[in-house]
């Protein structure tokens, strides 16, 4: 089991302490005892620190909560391993993450989930919350044993990018999940409309001769999901919005009082189809990068809260899978170590103070996940990210701990570097 820093007393001193959950943003100290936060600013009576971390010039915030990080185990160890990706997580200040079930085999039985969580816990790095497969083998034919999987530790049920054969199967899956109050996670993309498409339907796909994915692929899927929510009462988390029209549909469902949440991948806040340039396979993502107007709408919706959280959508892809013609390239990009700087950059562009922008990757994400994380509240686990907000670094393969080195931001300079990460009061990463 996780070795919380048993008995250790720790003081983080001199930092600008930001807790988005309480909108706190001021200099101060964090006092940690036995792996938990016991006080802010003023030491509890009789507190004598065994170690004091001098965090002058740094921001101390809750460890980030990432709603989607592919760890690639089991089955894709040539792309990444649990260890490499959990090291990447803490190097990126991520202390809690949800991993999708699209492994090989998929996370569709309790034994697999237990093995994964046990292996993750033994590494003693970031905390891992698996999403169980919604259907057996993600094949869309038979419901997975959701109650059993929940007992094994799954925090939700996800079909990943695999298609469900028809709305009837979705209806039953939502109905069954809602029996137990489980959250169903769904990628809003109609498989028929997306078909063999690889790029947003618009000028760029037309210019490059790439098979298009219309916005209707997202809106039709969302319309179906929302109607079935009304029919079943199921709680749904919509994973990875890509369009302004999609944002509007979810906002309307929220306004109607439906229990719906949604997220956006951090790449989609910054990039659009124009960034594909001359067939840059790094920009082959799923959902596709869309029009600049869609990107701007996503960034605005996240700022306004219509989108609940931002995630890295971390997908380690090996070089062989990217060095092929655009359409044949495996979609996805490494993201765990870019989540913080890209979230801060989005915040700066949106005119948000860090306390607001960090909320999208901490407390707001934790709320979606339904776990106790993403806060510096007294009594919560001392999962803390210490970062230098002014430190610039260049994204290079060597600068990334993840085994996935492929990213559209390759060679670019980003600002904001994690200097130290604590999980349960224990330092798991330090520069």
């Amino acid at each position: 089991m996780r070795s919380e820093a048993r008995g250790m007393r720790l003081q983080i001193a001199g930092a600008r302490v930001i807790d988005p959950a309480t909108e706190r943003d001021k200099p101060g100290s964090i006092f940690i005892d036995n792996g938990k936060i016991v006080a802010l600013d003023t030491a509890p009576d009789g507190f004598r620190a065994d170690e004091t971390i001098d965090a002058k010039g740094l921001i101390a915030c809750p460890g980030l909560v990432d709603l989607s990080a592919r760890l690639r185990e089991p089955g894709f160890e040539y792309k990444a391993t649990l260890e490499s990706e959990l090291l990447a997580a803490v190097a990126g200040g991520v202390t809690t993450l949800a991993c999708p079930p699209d492994t090989d085999p998929p996370l569709d039985e309790p034994g697999l989930v237990e093995m994964l969580t046990r292996r993750a816990a033994s590494l003693d790095l970031a905390r891992v919350h698996p999403l169980g497969a919604l259907t057996v083998g993600l094949k869309g034919a038979r419901l997975a044993e959701m109650a059993e999987l929940a007992e094994a530790g799954c925090v939700g049920f996800f079909q990943g990018s695999a298609a469900l054969p028809d709305p009837a199967m979705l209806l039953q899956a939502m109905r069954y999940a809602s029996t137990f109050g489980f959250t169903v996670w769904l990628r809003p993309q109609d498989a028929h409309l997306a078909s063999d498409g690889v790029a947003h339907e618009g000028e760029i796909a037309t210019r490059l001769g790439l098979a298009p994915i219309p916005v209707a692929a997202e809106t039709i899927a969302l319309a179906t999901i929302i109607e079935l929510m009304t029919a079943t009462g199921a709680r749904v988390h919509v994973a990875r919005l890509s369009s302004a029209a999609g944002v509007a549909l979810v906002a309307r469902a929220k306004a109607a009082g439906l229990p719906i949440t949604c997220d956006v991948g951090v790449h989609h806040l910054h990039l659009c189809d124009r960034d594909i340039g001359d067939f840059d396979a790094q920009c082959h993502l799923s959902p596709p990068l869309r029009d600049p107007a869609d990107r701007d709408a996503l960034a605005r919706a996240l700022a306004e809260g219509a989108i609940d959280a931002v995630c890295s959508d971390h997908t380690p892809v090996d070089d062989d899978a990217k060095q092929v013609p655009f359409a044949e390239a495996e979609p996805g990009a490494t993201g765990l170590e870019l989540l913080l700087p890209l979230t801060l950059q989005w915040g700066r562009q949106a005119g948000l103070a860090p306390v607001r922008s960090l909320a999208a990757a901490t407390c707001r994400a934790a709320r979606v996940l339904g776990v106790r994380a993403g806060t510096l509240a007294i009594g919560s686990p001392a999962d803390i990210c210490l970062f230098d907000p002014a430190r610039a670094w260049v994204v290079t393969p060597a600068a990334l701990a993840s085994q996935g080195k492929n990213t559209p931001f390759q060679g670019l300079e980003l600002t904001g570097r994690v200097m130290r990460t604590l999980v349960g009061g224990r330092t798991v990463h330090a520069v």
Binding site: E203, A205, F279, V324
Partner: protein, 320 residues
């Protein structure tokens, strides 16, 4: 965030052609230079001995991942008239089914001391990928990549239009048919825009016109009679068999009725309009036989000019 530098893969900083991947972004003076140089090669092809020693000792590899006898042959003839050694490889699906990647195939051929690759592939962007990975000094000619580009076809069409119409700056040109899936249409559009054609039209049903195509500088027509009005040049596109009956079109017959080029429809264009087609033609589907064989048709001269244009491109790339 706009991040990629706009440095061109195909044109060097000195303005010289390094690869020919697409007509998009090719400067007008470079296109004119290719067409001027093709003029000279037309005369070579009319000689008794149809050969010049420009590429003697150079090895040109025709690497066709998608089979095409006709295009491959025209490149082969062009290379041989330049005295190059030509190696034809129909990679087809065989090599990929053996698990070899596109780049591995290319690296293998590169190790056999190729000087130039002529590449056709079913995926858009394949030629760019290869050009980005070959050793410096090796030139890549895109002989068709997916729906994206077929620049030598686009250039030979420019040659043909210039031959008959001389000046691009007052022309009305219509491209008719399956624009959606056509790499030829895309290459024509970019070249025609660059050369200053003021009225460029595409004509077809909505299922065969790609999204936002007007952003490429064309006007869209769905009524062929209207679209052909006063055209100087009518370019018909080939309709692939697999598109004829299905979700995109109900039947070849209905397509011919609405968008097939007949003498009646052609009468809407200017009396001296020329009719072009990249071949191979589907008679009775996109074009009626009397028009294909009629006095306005320049379809066979296109083929002849194609050799000269490919010679021009190869000589520019090979003597760099």
């Amino acid at each position: 965030m706009s991040m990629r530098s706009k440095a061109s893969l195909q044109v060097g900083p000195d303005g010289r052609l390094k690869h020919l991947l697409t007509t998009e972004g090719l400067p007008a003076e470079l296109i004119r230079h290719i067409l001027d140089s093709a003029d000279q090669f037309v005369s070579v092809s009319e000689r008794e001995v149809k050969k010049v020693p420009i590429l003697r000792g150079k090895s040109i590899f025709n690497v066709f991942f998608e089979s095409s006898t006709r295009t491959r042959t025209t490149f082969e003839i062009a290379a041989k008239r330049l005295s190059a050694d030509v190696i034809n490889l129909n990679v087809g699906v065989s090599s990929t089914s053996k698990g070899e990647t596109l780049l591995d195939t290319v690296f293998n051929l590169q190790a056999m001391d190729a000087d130039m690759f002529v590449v056709r592939h079913s995926q858009s962007g394949a030629a760019h990928l290869i050009a980005r990975h070959v050793k410096p000094g090796i030139a890549v000619i895109n002989a068709g990549d997916g729906r994206h580009a077929h620049p030598t076809q686009g250039l030979l069409d420019m040659y043909t239009i210039r031959h008959y119409k001389h000046d691009f700056s007052a022309l009305t040109v219509a491209i008719v048919g399956d624009v959606m899936h056509s790499r030829v249409a895309r290459s024509q559009v970019h070249a025609l825009k660059t050369l200053g054609v003021p009225d460029l039209r595409v004509i077809g049903p909505k299922t065969l016109i790609p999204a936002a195509v007007e952003r490429l500088g064309v006007r869209v027509f769905h009524d062929m009679n209207e679209g052909l009005r006063d055209c100087d040049v009518v370019i018909m596109l080939r309709l692939q068999n697999e598109r004829m009956n299905g979700a995109l079109l109900p039947s070849a017959g209905e397509f011919f009725k609405c968008y097939g080029l007949t003498a009646d429809k052609l009468a809407r264009a200017r009396p001296d309009a020329i009719v072009m087609h990249p071949g191979p033609m589907n008679r009775g589907v996109e074009i009626d036989s009397p028009v294909a064989d009629g006095r306005q048709s320049v379809i066979l001269p296109q083929v002849t000019f194609g050799i000269a244009v490919r010679m021009a491109v190869m000589s520019m790339l090979g003597s760099a």
